[in-house]
């Protein structure tokens, strides 16, 4: 009995029918993902259909969700398993099949590459104005609570508390300082307005937050919107509370308090990653074709300074020509402020080479396979003409 079931499973896993079912399911998902982008934005649609194990449907009015279709991740895994199992079953190491072998190895690498990318790729950005020098990149989505010790007028000590820690709640100790933050409230996305009479009393009792009310909103889905995140934190140091503060990336004014003669400034801002090197934007260019608005070229002339390596040089970053440095790649992405601000997209992806290898393998495999098939068919036809 047991063997019959396992045989059945093995047959199903290695069958070509499963391949076709998976490929068809993938087509359905890709179509759905494409259409959904109109309303949900690319990231939302991809997370819903592709980077998920199931596509969920919320039953209206019940708060329940039902899995109605396998998601891209599940289909991809099944397809990869099917591919590997089918190759193992029909272990035909003949020259006739060598092309197919190479193709399938390449495809497995391609799937692996997409998994590595979705798991490990880190995308950040660098918005830099002409003449400015920066030694950090920022996350386009994630925020952090920056606590800056500004006591020394020459140099600020900055400590960052990631958004994810704030979302978890509870006390957060800031290493290197005597401070500890008690998170009293966290709203991923909210609308801020001036506190009106009749509003619920605010959680914050210090800073501008004491006069502001926040209404929770669902997190944004579109790619060009950002969340206005709000957190209520209570700094505690040496057994003393400094009140409850509202921090948000939607609030402009910095807020500060003094503990034992040291001034701490609180700000919610895009999460920063500091680099061991710095970049200075020397010149940003935005050329158009004469007599038109059609952009001809965007380029950023950047000065790279890495004291640790004793490296110092100018780099020109332009379309299709990124700067690849120390595991990161800097791409010309956008611009602003009357062509004085350049926005570079910064990508770190340990799996970036996999698709390249896969591409070469699959192409070679398909070529070999079709060449072998063509050769056989020509031979067959020659034989047929000889017989006739």
């Amino acid at each position: 009995m047991k063997t019959r079931i396992s045989r059945w499973i093995w047959d199903a896993l290695t069958s070509l029918k499963l391949t076709i079912v998976c490929l068809s399911a993938l087509m359905v998902l890709v179509v759905a993902c494409t259409l959904a982008q109109v309303n949900r934005g690319t990231l939302g649609a991809v997370n819903l259909y592709i980077r998920s194990f199931f596509v969920w449907w919320e039953v209206p009015g019940s708060g329940w969700s039902i899995a109605i279709f396998p998601g891209g991740a599940l289909v991809g895994l099944v397809l990869a398993a099917n591919l590997i199992a089918a190759q193992a079953k029909r272990i035909e190491m003949s020259w006739k099949k060598v092309g197919i072998w190479i193709v399938h190895v390449g495809l497995i690498l391609l799937f692996a590459g997409e998994f590595v990318t979705s798991a490990f790729q880190v995308e950040t950005r660098l918005a830099i104005e002409e003449g400015q020098t920066l030694n950090y990149v920022e996350s386009p989505r994630e925020l952090e609570l920056a606590v800056a010790d500004t006591t020394d007028p020459k140099k600020d000590e900055v400590y960052g508390i990631p958004e994810s820690l704030l979302a978890r709640g509870g006390p957060v100790n800031v290493a290197g300082t005597p401070l500890s933050f008690h998170v009293k409230g966290f709203l991923r996305n909210a609308e801020l307005s001036k506190l009106e009479p009749g509003d619920a009393p605010p959680l914050a009792n210090r800073g501008v937050g004491a006069a502001v009310s926040a209404r929770e909103l669902p997190p944004v889905t579109s790619d060009d919107e950002i969340n206005r995140t709000v957190a209520y934190v209570e700094p505690v140091a040496g057994g003393r509370s400094y009140g409850t503060w509202m921090v948000s990336n939607a609030l402009g004014a910095p807020q500060s308090f003094v503990h034992e003669g040291r001034t701490y400034v609180l700000a919610m801002r895009p999460r920063r990653q500091y680099l061991p090197y710095s970049l200075t934007l020397k010149k940003f260019r935005h050329d158009v074709y004469p007599g038109t608005d059609i952009p001809k070229n965007f380029s950023s002339l950047v000065h790279l300074n890495h004291p640790g390596r004793g490296e110092e040089r100018d780099v020109l970053i332009y379309m299709n020509q990124p700067l690849r440095y120390a595991g990161k790649a800097f791409y010309q992405a956008s611009f602003g402020k009357g062509d004085t601000l350049s926005v570079l997209q910064v990508v770190e992806n340990p799996g970036w080479l996999l698709p390249y290898i896969s591409c070469v393998l699959v192409t070679a495999g398909l070529l070999v396979h079709f060449a072998v098939s063509l050769h056989r068919s020509v031979k067959r036809r020659q034989a047929a003409t000889l017989e006739a």
Binding site: K17, T19, G291, M319, A329, V347, W352, C359, T363, L374
Partner: protein
């Protein structure tokens, strides 16, 4: 026998000769050297082109055609532009505005009749209303506009283009360019110069020696600038040309044209050579000629199935080759003119898709010799050139490439391979459609021919899978190179992926034996649906990084195409002669009884 062997050559030669006739320059209509005027280089849309291209593209945008008949004469684009610039009252009475929308016609107080073309004079009393309505519709997103709003914005844009052209060299209602040059510091001149500089649609004054090759200037800019001397010769030339044309003085006009041509030939010979090449290309209209030859090839082939198979089939192949030669010449001319790989926009992708299908069809014909390759190649070539023809209305088809696309390496690799993939998928679909027709219409079905068709389709699907996969992955690599993301699930990327998946499904279904002859053919026809959606459909979504090819007009055409393909799939799966069943049934009963 000998004559029969010559038939394809004769057919091919005649068709080519017909296409070459268009290259002969026209004489001097009513004594004006229009040909010389047409070849004057100007800068418009970011590139230097002969004024002929400006005239043709503008008339194409305004009227939808590159020439028209008026008052018993044929008016070509160049003559129209000359009239518009230097005899505006004459041009204003020529019916150049095509208006189809009944609501817009109603706004002008007109009823919809068979005559859809109106002169500027018919629009003039309503200009304020047109502008008011267009301004109201303008802030609405192009996709959200009603039919009337789109039509009124479109009409306003065309009127504005007309107005700009009329005020590019000299302002309408002023004494003319000569007076403007002479009195450049007179009272009120500064304001007129400013308007001229604002409205100029093209820049006719070439950069002086030692200046950047892109530093062309408009008349207004030149008059405004301090260094008048630099352009004075060219300004004087245009002033003479304008005055002579208005005064109908052929000798002075021809002299002015020769003078301006001589100036560019001596200072910038390469620019003049390029302009002359483009004129030849404009006049030859190779893709239009190719379309006509392909349809002739198809007709010859259809006739061959009715009778005289051997003779006409050969003639048809000869015509197909002639069409392919013209098509190829056009394609390579475009590449040389643009200094780019063949595919740079939607229009050129249609031309290239057709070209690849034709070349593959010729190869198939040469391999199998059944007339089938010819039929499919001629039909695909014709269809794709028709599609290209309808994509032309947006103006210059050789526009400049946006910064991110400005990479000949990636245009030559990713874009070309992916387009070959489209082409292969369409060709497989076309063979399958041919199979469907044959299945229902042919009186006698030879099994060997059917087998050939199936193996042809299989081969082409393999070919399409190879190219669409490689093209898609190369696109990923380009994306990785230019913004650090190998795969972003962008609609256009997804469209390409769908083609790859579908071709893979066809091949796996065949290898597994899940589908046979009919099934493979029906799936190949569905490939047409997928490819058309990937090629045009995703552009209509208007999202993503590839939305520069946005188009809304083609929505209905695309829907109709998809519907027709679904009907064909149904037909492919039905029994041959299914419509005869009713009639055949009593007969069968009768035979049983017997």
């Amino acid at each position: 026998m000998k004559v029969a062997k010559l038939i394809p050559w004769i057919a091919c030669g005649l068709a080519l000769a017909g296409a070459l006739v268009a290259l002969v320059p026209p004489g001097k209509p009513r004594g004006f050297d229009l040909n010389g005027f047409a070849s004057l280089p100007v800068l418009e849309g970011g590139r230097v082109k002969p004024i002929d291209s400006v005239a043709r593209n503008s008339l194409l945008m305004i009227r939808g055609q590159q020439g028209f008949r008026h008052a018993g004469y044929h008016v070509g684009a160049d003559q129209w532009l000359l009239d518009l610039m230097f005899r505006p009252r004459v041009a204003d009475s020529q019916p150049v505005f095509v208006i189809n929308d009944p609501d817009v016609l109603g706004l002008l107080g007109k009823q919809q009749t068979s005559d859809r073309y109106f002169p500027f004079t018919a629009l003039a009393p309503h200009l304020d209303e047109i502008q008011r309505q267009a301004q109201a519709a303008h802030p609405i997103d192009a996709k959200q506009r009603t039919r009337f709003q789109s039509a009124i914005v479109n009409l306003f844009d065309r009127v504005y283009l007309y107005y700009r052209l009329r005020n590019t060299i000299q302002l309408d209602g002023t004494p003319g360019l000569a007076a403007e040059v002479a009195g450049r510091s007179a009272a009120g001149a500064a304001e007129r110069q400013n308007i001229l500089a604002q409205l100029a649609y093209f820049r006719p004054l070439p950069p002086g020696a030692g200046k950047s090759p892109e530093a062309w200037r408009s008349v207004g800019e030149s008059l405004q600038s301090g260094d008048a001397g630099a352009d004075s010769a060219a300004l004087q030339g245009w002033a003479r040309l304008a005055a002579a044309y208005a005064a109908r003085d052929t000798a002075a006009f021809n002299g002015a044209v020769a003078g301006l041509r001589g100036m560019t030939s001596s200072t910038r010979p390469d620019v003049q050579r390029q302009a002359d090449h483009e004129i030849l290309f404009n006049r030859a209209q190779p893709f239009y000629a190719g379309m006509v030859i392909y349809i002739l090839a198809l007709l010859a082939l259809f006739a061959s199935w009715l009778g005289k198979p051997a003779l006409l089939q050969r003639a048809s192949f000869g015509l197909l080759v002639a069409g392919a030669i013209v098509h190829t010449a056009g394609l390579f001319s475009r590449m040389a003119l643009q200094d780019r790989p063949p595919v740079t926009n939607l229009y050129s992708s249609a031309i290239f898709v057709g070209w690849i299908a034709v070349i593959l069809g010729i190869v198939l014909e040469w391999m199998y010799r059944r007339g089938f390759g010819t039929a499919v190649a001629a039909a695909s070539g014709f269809a794709s050139l028709i599609v290209a023809h309808h994509l032309m209305g947006d103006g210059d088809t050789m526009e400049m490439m946006r910064a991110v696309l400005d990479s000949n390496f990636w245009l030559a690799t990713h874009v070309v391979t992916i387009t070959i993939g489209y082409s292969g998928t369409f060709l497989a679909g076309a063979i399958a459609i041919g199979y469907t027709f044959r299945r229902h219409l042919a009186t006698r079905l030879e099994p060997s021919t059917t087998k050939t068709l199936v193996s042809m389709t299989y081969g082409v699907v393999c070919f399409a899978l190879l190219f669409s996969f490689v093209g898609t992955v190369l696109g990923g690599i380009w994306a990785d190179q230019s913004w650090g993301r190998f795969w972003g699930w962008d609609p256009k990327e997804n469209g390409a992926l769908l083609i790859v998946l579908w071709n893979a499904i066809i091949l796996h279904a065949r290898w597994g034996g899940f589908v046979r002859e009919k099934g493979i053919m029906a799936m190949a026809i569905f490939g047409n649906v997928i490819t058309s959606l990937s090629w045009f459909g995703v552009n209509m979504l208007g999202v993503g990084l590839h939305s520069y090819g946005f188009m809304d007009k083609a929505f209905w055409a695309l829907s109709a195409f998809i519907a027709s393909q679904l009907v064909l799939i149904g037909a492919c799966l039905l029994q041959p002669g299914f419509w005869r069943l009713r009639r055949a049934a009593p007969e069968r009963r009768a035979s049983k009884a017997a």
